[in-house]
Symmetry: C2
Subunit: 258 residues, 2 copies
Protein backbone atom coordinates (compact mmCIF):
# COMPACT_ATOMS: atom_id res chain seq x y z
CA UNK A 1 0.00 0.00 0.00
CA UNK A 2 2.87 2.35 -0.81
CA UNK A 3 1.56 4.28 -3.78
CA UNK A 4 -0.65 7.35 -4.13
CA UNK A 5 -3.97 5.55 -4.22
CA UNK A 6 -6.08 6.13 -1.11
CA UNK A 7 -6.15 3.39 1.51
CA UNK A 8 -9.73 2.31 2.15
CA UNK A 9 -10.83 0.22 5.13
CA UNK A 10 -14.00 -1.80 4.54
CA UNK A 11 -16.08 -3.37 7.29
CA UNK A 12 -19.72 -4.23 8.10
CA UNK A 13 -21.91 -5.85 10.73
CA UNK A 14 -23.49 -8.70 8.74
CA UNK A 15 -20.19 -10.58 8.71
CA UNK A 16 -17.40 -10.90 6.19
CA UNK A 17 -19.24 -13.50 4.08
CA UNK A 18 -22.26 -11.24 3.44
CA UNK A 19 -22.92 -10.36 -0.22
CA UNK A 20 -23.34 -6.70 0.82
CA UNK A 21 -19.72 -6.29 1.95
CA UNK A 22 -18.44 -8.18 -1.07
CA UNK A 23 -20.26 -5.69 -3.33
CA UNK A 24 -18.77 -2.78 -1.36
CA UNK A 25 -15.25 -4.25 -1.58
CA UNK A 26 -15.52 -4.38 -5.39
CA UNK A 27 -16.52 -0.71 -5.56
CA UNK A 28 -13.86 0.36 -3.03
CA UNK A 29 -11.16 -1.38 -5.08
CA UNK A 30 -11.94 0.97 -8.01
CA UNK A 31 -10.85 3.91 -5.81
CA UNK A 32 -7.88 2.66 -3.83
CA UNK A 33 -6.01 -0.01 -1.91
CA UNK A 34 -8.51 -1.96 0.15
CA UNK A 35 -8.14 -3.63 3.54
CA UNK A 36 -11.09 -5.63 4.84
CA UNK A 37 -11.62 -6.39 8.54
CA UNK A 38 -15.11 -7.60 9.33
CA UNK A 39 -16.88 -9.77 11.91
CA UNK A 40 -16.72 -13.55 11.49
CA UNK A 41 -20.44 -13.79 12.37
CA UNK A 42 -23.53 -11.56 12.14
CA UNK A 43 -23.33 -8.57 14.50
CA UNK A 44 -26.52 -6.72 13.62
CA UNK A 45 -27.84 -4.61 16.47
CA UNK A 46 -24.54 -4.54 18.34
CA UNK A 47 -24.48 -0.74 18.31
CA UNK A 48 -21.21 0.74 19.51
CA UNK A 49 -20.26 -2.33 21.55
CA UNK A 50 -16.59 -3.10 22.10
CA UNK A 51 -15.10 -6.32 23.43
CA UNK A 52 -13.48 -5.68 26.80
CA UNK A 53 -14.71 -8.60 28.91
CA UNK A 54 -13.47 -11.33 26.58
CA UNK A 55 -10.61 -12.04 24.20
CA UNK A 56 -10.49 -11.28 20.48
CA UNK A 57 -9.40 -13.47 17.60
CA UNK A 58 -8.46 -12.32 14.09
CA UNK A 59 -7.80 -14.54 11.09
CA UNK A 60 -6.52 -13.64 7.66
CA UNK A 61 -8.96 -15.27 5.26
CA UNK A 62 -7.58 -13.98 1.97
CA UNK A 63 -5.30 -16.27 -0.01
CA UNK A 64 -1.55 -15.54 0.18
CA UNK A 65 -0.72 -12.90 -2.45
CA UNK A 66 -4.37 -11.97 -3.06
CA UNK A 67 -4.76 -8.32 -4.13
CA UNK A 68 -7.08 -7.50 -1.22
CA UNK A 69 -6.21 -8.59 2.31
CA UNK A 70 -9.24 -9.74 4.27
CA UNK A 71 -9.40 -10.47 8.00
CA UNK A 72 -12.26 -11.89 10.04
CA UNK A 73 -12.72 -10.83 13.66
CA UNK A 74 -14.47 -12.60 16.53
CA UNK A 75 -15.68 -9.26 17.91
CA UNK A 76 -17.87 -6.32 16.95
CA UNK A 77 -17.69 -3.92 13.99
CA UNK A 78 -16.10 -1.30 16.27
CA UNK A 79 -13.44 -3.84 17.31
CA UNK A 80 -12.74 -4.39 13.58
CA UNK A 81 -12.05 -0.71 12.95
CA UNK A 82 -9.77 -0.45 15.97
CA UNK A 83 -7.78 -3.57 15.01
CA UNK A 84 -7.41 -2.47 11.39
CA UNK A 85 -6.08 0.96 12.33
CA UNK A 86 -3.89 -0.02 15.28
CA UNK A 87 -2.52 -3.48 14.41
CA UNK A 88 -2.73 -3.85 10.63
CA UNK A 89 -2.35 -0.42 9.03
CA UNK A 90 -0.56 1.20 11.99
CA UNK A 91 -1.77 4.49 10.51
CA UNK A 92 -5.14 5.99 9.64
CA UNK A 93 -6.68 4.93 6.33
CA UNK A 94 -7.91 7.69 4.00
CA UNK A 95 -11.48 6.43 4.14
CA UNK A 96 -13.61 3.87 5.96
CA UNK A 97 -16.62 2.30 4.25
CA UNK A 98 -19.08 0.17 6.22
CA UNK A 99 -21.79 -2.06 4.73
CA UNK A 100 -23.53 -2.53 2.45
CA UNK A 101 -25.91 -3.47 5.22
CA UNK A 102 -28.66 -5.99 4.52
CA UNK A 103 -31.52 -3.86 5.90
CA UNK A 104 -32.16 -0.19 6.53
CA UNK A 105 -30.23 1.90 9.06
CA UNK A 106 -32.23 5.06 8.61
CA UNK A 107 -33.62 7.22 11.39
CA UNK A 108 -33.14 5.97 14.99
CA UNK A 109 -31.60 2.73 13.66
CA UNK A 110 -28.33 4.63 13.42
CA UNK A 111 -28.02 4.09 17.19
CA UNK A 112 -28.58 0.31 17.16
CA UNK A 113 -26.63 -0.35 13.97
CA UNK A 114 -23.25 -2.06 14.06
CA UNK A 115 -22.66 -0.87 10.48
CA UNK A 116 -23.08 2.77 11.43
CA UNK A 117 -21.21 2.34 14.72
CA UNK A 118 -18.17 1.16 12.73
CA UNK A 119 -18.40 4.34 10.64
CA UNK A 120 -18.82 6.45 13.79
CA UNK A 121 -15.78 4.76 15.38
CA UNK A 122 -13.72 5.67 12.31
CA UNK A 123 -15.04 9.24 12.62
CA UNK A 124 -13.99 9.40 16.30
CA UNK A 125 -10.51 8.38 15.15
CA UNK A 126 -10.49 11.22 12.58
CA UNK A 127 -11.07 9.04 9.52
CA UNK A 128 -13.66 10.12 6.89
CA UNK A 129 -16.32 7.42 6.99
CA UNK A 130 -19.53 6.35 5.29
CA UNK A 131 -22.03 3.65 6.21
CA UNK A 132 -24.16 2.19 3.40
CA UNK A 133 -27.41 0.26 3.91
CA UNK A 134 -30.07 -1.18 1.62
CA UNK A 135 -33.68 -1.39 2.77
CA UNK A 136 -33.87 -5.08 1.92
CA UNK A 137 -33.03 -7.90 4.35
CA UNK A 138 -32.79 -10.51 1.60
CA UNK A 139 -29.38 -12.21 1.72
CA UNK A 140 -29.56 -12.46 -2.09
CA UNK A 141 -30.62 -8.84 -2.67
CA UNK A 142 -29.22 -7.24 -5.82
CA UNK A 143 -26.62 -4.66 -4.78
CA UNK A 144 -25.54 -3.88 -8.36
CA UNK A 145 -28.07 -1.02 -8.93
CA UNK A 146 -26.52 0.86 -5.96
CA UNK A 147 -23.05 0.95 -7.48
CA UNK A 148 -23.34 4.25 -9.42
CA UNK A 149 -24.69 6.13 -6.38
CA UNK A 150 -22.04 4.65 -4.08
CA UNK A 151 -19.31 5.61 -6.57
CA UNK A 152 -20.65 9.16 -6.71
CA UNK A 153 -20.80 9.55 -2.91
CA UNK A 154 -17.35 7.99 -2.36
CA UNK A 155 -15.88 10.18 -5.09
CA UNK A 156 -17.33 13.36 -3.56
CA UNK A 157 -16.11 12.47 -0.05
CA UNK A 158 -12.61 11.68 -1.35
CA UNK A 159 -12.51 14.99 -3.26
CA UNK A 160 -14.32 17.36 -0.90
CA UNK A 161 -13.80 15.71 2.50
CA UNK A 162 -16.16 15.71 5.45
CA UNK A 163 -16.35 18.23 8.29
CA UNK A 164 -14.50 17.07 11.42
CA UNK A 165 -16.71 15.06 13.75
CA UNK A 166 -19.14 14.06 10.99
CA UNK A 167 -19.69 10.74 9.19
CA UNK A 168 -22.34 9.85 6.62
CA UNK A 169 -25.30 7.50 7.01
CA UNK A 170 -26.39 6.50 3.49
CA UNK A 171 -29.55 4.43 2.98
CA UNK A 172 -30.97 3.10 -0.27
CA UNK A 173 -34.61 2.30 -1.04
CA UNK A 174 -35.36 -1.35 -1.89
CA UNK A 175 -35.79 -0.63 -5.60
CA UNK A 176 -35.15 2.04 -8.28
CA UNK A 177 -33.19 5.04 -7.01
CA UNK A 178 -34.66 8.36 -8.19
CA UNK A 179 -31.76 10.40 -6.84
CA UNK A 180 -29.80 11.22 -3.69
CA UNK A 181 -31.03 13.59 -0.96
CA UNK A 182 -29.22 15.18 1.99
CA UNK A 183 -31.56 14.63 4.96
CA UNK A 184 -31.99 14.87 8.68
CA UNK A 185 -32.61 11.82 10.90
CA UNK A 186 -36.37 11.23 11.16
CA UNK A 187 -37.93 11.10 14.63
CA UNK A 188 -38.98 7.47 14.80
CA UNK A 189 -38.78 4.49 17.11
CA UNK A 190 -39.52 0.78 17.41
CA UNK A 191 -42.73 -0.51 18.93
CA UNK A 192 -41.44 -3.76 20.24
CA UNK A 193 -42.77 -6.86 21.81
CA UNK A 194 -41.23 -9.92 23.41
CA UNK A 195 -42.25 -13.18 21.78
CA UNK A 196 -42.45 -15.57 24.77
CA UNK A 197 -41.67 -19.25 24.16
CA UNK A 198 -40.83 -22.28 26.23
CA UNK A 199 -37.74 -24.42 25.85
CA UNK A 200 -38.00 -28.24 25.60
CA UNK A 201 -36.85 -28.16 29.25
CA UNK A 202 -39.80 -26.02 30.35
CA UNK A 203 -37.96 -22.75 30.78
CA UNK A 204 -39.44 -19.48 29.43
CA UNK A 205 -37.39 -17.48 26.98
CA UNK A 206 -38.00 -14.51 24.71
CA UNK A 207 -37.26 -13.18 21.25
CA UNK A 208 -37.17 -9.40 20.85
CA UNK A 209 -39.23 -8.35 17.85
CA UNK A 210 -41.14 -5.28 16.74
CA UNK A 211 -42.32 -2.77 14.19
CA UNK A 212 -40.68 0.45 13.11
CA UNK A 213 -42.90 3.51 13.60
CA UNK A 214 -42.12 6.85 11.93
CA UNK A 215 -43.67 9.66 13.96
CA UNK A 216 -42.08 12.36 11.79
CA UNK A 217 -44.18 14.08 9.10
CA UNK A 218 -41.32 16.22 7.75
CA UNK A 219 -40.33 16.01 4.07
CA UNK A 220 -36.66 16.69 4.88
CA UNK A 221 -36.08 13.38 6.68
CA UNK A 222 -34.34 10.17 5.62
CA UNK A 223 -37.63 8.28 6.01
CA UNK A 224 -39.39 10.65 3.61
CA UNK A 225 -36.59 10.32 1.05
CA UNK A 226 -36.61 6.51 1.22
CA UNK A 227 -40.41 6.28 1.07
CA UNK A 228 -40.30 8.45 -2.04
CA UNK A 229 -37.64 6.44 -3.85
CA UNK A 230 -34.55 8.51 -3.03
CA UNK A 231 -31.31 7.46 -1.40
CA UNK A 232 -30.85 9.37 1.88
CA UNK A 233 -27.58 10.87 3.15
CA UNK A 234 -27.64 11.98 6.80
CA UNK A 235 -24.59 13.68 8.34
CA UNK A 236 -24.09 12.00 11.72
CA UNK A 237 -22.20 13.43 14.70
CA UNK A 238 -20.86 11.85 17.87
CA UNK A 239 -20.84 14.97 20.03
CA UNK A 240 -24.13 14.04 21.68
CA UNK A 241 -24.37 17.26 23.71
CA UNK A 242 -27.92 18.64 23.47
CA UNK A 243 -26.84 22.29 23.44
CA UNK A 244 -30.46 23.43 23.11
CA UNK A 245 -31.19 21.87 26.51
CA UNK A 246 -28.61 23.92 28.41
CA UNK A 247 -31.02 26.79 29.09
CA UNK A 248 -33.56 24.47 30.74
CA UNK A 249 -30.89 22.72 32.79
CA UNK A 250 -29.57 26.04 34.02
CA UNK A 251 -32.93 26.57 35.78
CA UNK A 252 -32.19 23.49 37.93
CA UNK A 253 -31.40 24.13 41.59
CA UNK A 254 -28.30 21.94 41.86
CA UNK A 255 -25.87 23.76 44.13
CA UNK A 256 -26.49 25.26 47.57
CA UNK A 257 -24.94 28.59 46.63
CA UNK A 258 -26.75 28.98 43.29
CA UNK B 1 -47.65 0.35 42.17
CA UNK B 2 -51.09 1.92 42.34
CA UNK B 3 -50.54 5.10 44.34
CA UNK B 4 -49.29 8.56 43.43
CA UNK B 5 -45.62 7.93 43.95
CA UNK B 6 -43.62 7.98 40.73
CA UNK B 7 -42.64 4.66 39.18
CA UNK B 8 -38.87 4.49 38.78
CA UNK B 9 -37.07 1.91 36.63
CA UNK B 10 -33.49 1.21 37.71
CA UNK B 11 -30.91 -0.54 35.54
CA UNK B 12 -27.16 -0.55 34.90
CA UNK B 13 -24.44 -2.27 32.86
CA UNK B 14 -22.23 -3.70 35.61
CA UNK B 15 -24.85 -6.32 36.43
CA UNK B 16 -27.56 -6.53 39.07
CA UNK B 17 -25.18 -7.63 41.84
CA UNK B 18 -22.96 -4.53 41.52
CA UNK B 19 -22.76 -2.30 44.62
CA UNK B 20 -23.35 0.73 42.38
CA UNK B 21 -26.87 -0.29 41.37
CA UNK B 22 -27.71 -1.34 44.90
CA UNK B 23 -26.79 2.18 46.08
CA UNK B 24 -28.95 3.71 43.33
CA UNK B 25 -31.91 1.46 44.22
CA UNK B 26 -31.80 2.69 47.82
CA UNK B 27 -31.89 6.33 46.69
CA UNK B 28 -34.63 5.69 44.09
CA UNK B 29 -36.82 4.07 46.76
CA UNK B 30 -36.89 7.38 48.65
CA UNK B 31 -38.66 8.95 45.65
CA UNK B 32 -41.03 6.31 44.35
CA UNK B 33 -41.98 2.74 43.57
CA UNK B 34 -38.92 0.99 42.17
CA UNK B 35 -38.62 -1.75 39.57
CA UNK B 36 -35.16 -3.16 38.88
CA UNK B 37 -34.26 -4.94 35.62
CA UNK B 38 -30.53 -5.31 35.12
CA UNK B 39 -28.09 -7.62 33.33
CA UNK B 40 -27.18 -10.91 35.00
CA UNK B 41 -23.51 -10.38 34.08
CA UNK B 42 -21.20 -7.41 33.39
CA UNK B 43 -22.14 -5.58 30.18
CA UNK B 44 -19.65 -2.73 30.22
CA UNK B 45 -18.83 -1.41 26.76
CA UNK B 46 -21.91 -2.93 25.14
CA UNK B 47 -23.09 0.48 23.91
CA UNK B 48 -26.56 0.46 22.41
CA UNK B 49 -26.47 -3.26 21.59
CA UNK B 50 -29.75 -5.18 21.51
CA UNK B 51 -30.19 -8.94 21.44
CA UNK B 52 -31.76 -9.97 18.13
CA UNK B 53 -29.63 -12.95 17.09
CA UNK B 54 -30.18 -14.97 20.25
CA UNK B 55 -32.83 -15.62 22.88
CA UNK B 56 -33.34 -13.69 26.11
CA UNK B 57 -33.90 -14.99 29.63
CA UNK B 58 -35.31 -13.05 32.57
CA UNK B 59 -35.46 -14.21 36.17
CA UNK B 60 -37.11 -12.60 39.17
CA UNK B 61 -34.44 -12.56 41.83
CA UNK B 62 -36.30 -10.65 44.57
CA UNK B 63 -37.90 -12.70 47.34
CA UNK B 64 -41.71 -13.15 47.13
CA UNK B 65 -43.36 -10.14 48.75
CA UNK B 66 -40.18 -8.06 48.81
CA UNK B 67 -40.90 -4.32 48.55
CA UNK B 68 -38.77 -3.91 45.41
CA UNK B 69 -39.13 -6.34 42.50
CA UNK B 70 -35.79 -7.18 40.88
CA UNK B 71 -35.25 -9.05 37.63
CA UNK B 72 -32.01 -10.20 36.05
CA UNK B 73 -31.68 -10.35 32.26
CA UNK B 74 -29.35 -12.40 30.07
CA UNK B 75 -29.08 -9.52 27.58
CA UNK B 76 -27.87 -5.95 27.37
CA UNK B 77 -28.87 -2.85 29.34
CA UNK B 78 -31.03 -1.72 26.39
CA UNK B 79 -32.81 -5.12 26.43
CA UNK B 80 -33.51 -4.55 30.15
CA UNK B 81 -35.24 -1.22 29.52
CA UNK B 82 -37.36 -2.66 26.70
CA UNK B 83 -38.41 -5.70 28.77
CA UNK B 84 -39.28 -3.60 31.83
CA UNK B 85 -41.47 -1.21 29.84
CA UNK B 86 -43.14 -3.72 27.51
CA UNK B 87 -43.49 -6.91 29.57
CA UNK B 88 -43.40 -5.90 33.24
CA UNK B 89 -44.82 -2.38 33.58
CA UNK B 90 -46.84 -2.45 30.35
CA UNK B 91 -46.69 1.37 30.57
CA UNK B 92 -43.93 3.95 30.71
CA UNK B 93 -42.33 4.55 34.11
CA UNK B 94 -42.05 8.17 35.29
CA UNK B 95 -38.27 8.00 35.42
CA UNK B 96 -35.41 5.70 34.46
CA UNK B 97 -32.17 5.74 36.45
CA UNK B 98 -29.11 3.86 35.21
CA UNK B 99 -25.97 3.12 37.22
CA UNK B 100 -24.27 3.99 39.43
CA UNK B 101 -21.59 2.86 37.01
CA UNK B 102 -18.27 1.63 38.39
CA UNK B 103 -16.06 3.88 36.24
CA UNK B 104 -16.47 7.15 34.36
CA UNK B 105 -18.78 7.61 31.38
CA UNK B 106 -17.77 11.18 30.62
CA UNK B 107 -16.93 12.55 27.19
CA UNK B 108 -16.85 10.07 24.27
CA UNK B 109 -17.46 7.18 26.70
CA UNK B 110 -21.15 8.04 26.45
CA UNK B 111 -21.10 6.19 23.11
CA UNK B 112 -19.48 2.96 24.38
CA UNK B 113 -21.33 2.90 27.71
CA UNK B 114 -24.08 0.38 28.37
CA UNK B 115 -25.16 2.48 31.36
CA UNK B 116 -25.74 5.55 29.21
CA UNK B 117 -27.26 3.52 26.36
CA UNK B 118 -29.92 2.27 28.78
CA UNK B 119 -30.72 5.89 29.66
CA UNK B 120 -30.76 6.84 25.95
CA UNK B 121 -33.10 3.92 25.19
CA UNK B 122 -35.48 5.19 27.87
CA UNK B 123 -35.23 8.65 26.31
CA UNK B 124 -36.09 7.26 22.85
CA UNK B 125 -39.19 5.75 24.45
CA UNK B 126 -40.15 9.16 25.90
CA UNK B 127 -39.12 8.41 29.51
CA UNK B 128 -37.09 11.01 31.45
CA UNK B 129 -33.77 9.31 32.15
CA UNK B 130 -30.49 9.85 33.95
CA UNK B 131 -27.27 7.82 33.87
CA UNK B 132 -24.96 8.08 36.90
CA UNK B 133 -21.27 7.09 36.91
CA UNK B 134 -18.44 7.33 39.42
CA UNK B 135 -14.85 7.79 38.22
CA UNK B 136 -13.66 4.82 40.26
CA UNK B 137 -13.54 1.23 38.98
CA UNK B 138 -13.16 -0.23 42.49
CA UNK B 139 -15.94 -2.77 43.11
CA UNK B 140 -15.91 -1.65 46.75
CA UNK B 141 -15.95 2.08 46.01
CA UNK B 142 -17.89 4.19 48.51
CA UNK B 143 -21.07 5.42 46.79
CA UNK B 144 -22.49 7.03 49.94
CA UNK B 145 -20.91 10.50 49.37
CA UNK B 146 -22.78 10.73 46.02
CA UNK B 147 -26.23 10.34 47.59
CA UNK B 148 -26.97 14.05 48.31
CA UNK B 149 -26.06 15.08 44.72
CA UNK B 150 -28.07 12.22 43.19
CA UNK B 151 -31.08 13.14 45.36
CA UNK B 152 -30.82 16.76 44.21
CA UNK B 153 -30.60 15.86 40.49
CA UNK B 154 -33.43 13.29 40.68
CA UNK B 155 -35.60 15.76 42.58
CA UNK B 156 -35.03 18.51 39.98
CA UNK B 157 -35.77 16.18 37.05
CA UNK B 158 -38.98 14.92 38.73
CA UNK B 159 -40.10 18.51 39.39
CA UNK B 160 -38.92 20.34 36.28
CA UNK B 161 -38.77 17.55 33.69
CA UNK B 162 -36.35 17.24 30.78
CA UNK B 163 -36.75 18.58 27.24
CA UNK B 164 -38.04 15.94 24.82
CA UNK B 165 -35.24 13.98 23.19
CA UNK B 166 -32.77 14.71 25.99
CA UNK B 167 -31.38 12.51 28.78
CA UNK B 168 -28.72 13.33 31.37
CA UNK B 169 -25.20 11.94 31.65
CA UNK B 170 -24.04 12.53 35.24
CA UNK B 171 -20.47 11.76 36.25
CA UNK B 172 -18.89 12.08 39.69
CA UNK B 173 -15.22 12.66 40.49
CA UNK B 174 -13.51 9.88 42.48
CA UNK B 175 -13.46 11.92 45.70
CA UNK B 176 -14.99 15.04 47.36
CA UNK B 177 -17.65 16.75 45.25
CA UNK B 178 -17.24 20.54 45.17
CA UNK B 179 -20.54 21.07 43.35
CA UNK B 180 -22.50 20.18 40.20
CA UNK B 181 -21.84 21.74 36.78
CA UNK B 182 -23.89 21.64 33.55
CA UNK B 183 -21.32 20.80 30.84
CA UNK B 184 -20.79 19.88 27.22
CA UNK B 185 -19.23 16.56 26.15
CA UNK B 186 -15.43 17.00 25.92
CA UNK B 187 -13.73 16.17 22.63
CA UNK B 188 -11.69 13.14 23.66
CA UNK B 189 -10.91 9.63 22.51
CA UNK B 190 -9.14 6.42 23.45
CA UNK B 191 -5.60 5.65 22.31
CA UNK B 192 -5.87 1.92 22.24
CA UNK B 193 -3.62 -1.02 21.75
CA UNK B 194 -4.15 -4.74 21.34
CA UNK B 195 -2.33 -6.82 23.92
CA UNK B 196 -1.30 -9.91 21.94
CA UNK B 197 -1.05 -13.23 23.79
CA UNK B 198 -0.88 -16.90 22.94
CA UNK B 199 -3.26 -19.57 24.17
CA UNK B 200 -1.93 -22.83 25.69
CA UNK B 201 -2.85 -24.33 22.30
CA UNK B 202 -0.58 -21.95 20.37
CA UNK B 203 -3.26 -19.66 18.96
CA UNK B 204 -2.85 -15.87 19.03
CA UNK B 205 -5.50 -13.82 20.76
CA UNK B 206 -5.86 -10.21 21.83
CA UNK B 207 -7.12 -8.05 24.67
CA UNK B 208 -8.32 -4.55 23.77
CA UNK B 209 -6.79 -2.01 26.13
CA UNK B 210 -5.92 1.67 26.03
CA UNK B 211 -5.62 5.11 27.53
CA UNK B 212 -8.15 7.90 27.54
CA UNK B 213 -6.86 11.10 25.94
CA UNK B 214 -8.65 14.44 26.40
CA UNK B 215 -7.86 16.73 23.46
CA UNK B 216 -10.26 19.43 24.66
CA UNK B 217 -8.89 22.47 26.51
CA UNK B 218 -12.30 24.04 27.20
CA UNK B 219 -13.38 24.83 30.77
CA UNK B 220 -17.04 24.11 29.95
CA UNK B 221 -16.57 20.36 29.41
CA UNK B 222 -17.38 17.36 31.58
CA UNK B 223 -13.68 16.47 31.68
CA UNK B 224 -12.79 19.92 33.05
CA UNK B 225 -15.50 19.69 35.72
CA UNK B 226 -14.38 16.23 36.85
CA UNK B 227 -10.68 17.14 36.87
CA UNK B 228 -11.56 20.13 39.06
CA UNK B 229 -13.62 18.18 41.59
CA UNK B 230 -17.14 18.87 40.26
CA UNK B 231 -19.86 16.45 39.23
CA UNK B 232 -20.68 16.93 35.54
CA UNK B 233 -24.17 16.93 34.02
CA UNK B 234 -24.24 16.69 30.20
CA UNK B 235 -27.57 16.83 28.33
CA UNK B 236 -27.40 14.02 25.75
CA UNK B 237 -29.48 13.75 22.57
CA UNK B 238 -30.15 10.89 20.18
CA UNK B 239 -30.93 12.94 17.10
CA UNK B 240 -27.43 12.48 15.71
CA UNK B 241 -28.01 14.75 12.69
CA UNK B 242 -25.02 17.06 12.26
CA UNK B 243 -27.09 20.04 11.10
CA UNK B 244 -23.96 22.21 10.86
CA UNK B 245 -22.63 19.86 8.15
CA UNK B 246 -25.59 20.31 5.81
CA UNK B 247 -24.08 23.35 4.07
CA UNK B 248 -20.90 21.43 3.19
CA UNK B 249 -22.86 18.40 1.97
CA UNK B 250 -25.00 20.60 -0.24
CA UNK B 251 -21.84 21.43 -2.23
CA UNK B 252 -21.58 17.71 -3.17
CA UNK B 253 -22.32 16.82 -6.78
CA UNK B 254 -24.65 13.89 -6.15
CA UNK B 255 -27.39 14.07 -8.79
CA UNK B 256 -26.98 14.39 -12.52
CA UNK B 257 -29.46 17.25 -12.69
CA UNK B 258 -28.02 19.28 -9.77
Amino acid sequence: MKNNRPVILVTNDDGITAPGIQALIRIAAEFGEVLVVAPDSPQSGTGHAITINSTLHFNEISAPGAPIKQYSCSGTPVDCVKFAVIELLKTKPDLCLSGINHGSNSSINVIYSGTMSAAVEAGIEGIPAIGFSLGNFDWNADFEPLAPSIRQIVSQVLHKGLPQGVVLNVNFPPSDIKGIKICRQAKAMWEERFDKRQSPHGRDYYWLTGNFVNQDKGDDTDEWALANGYASVVPVQFDLTAYHAMQHLNTFDLNKND
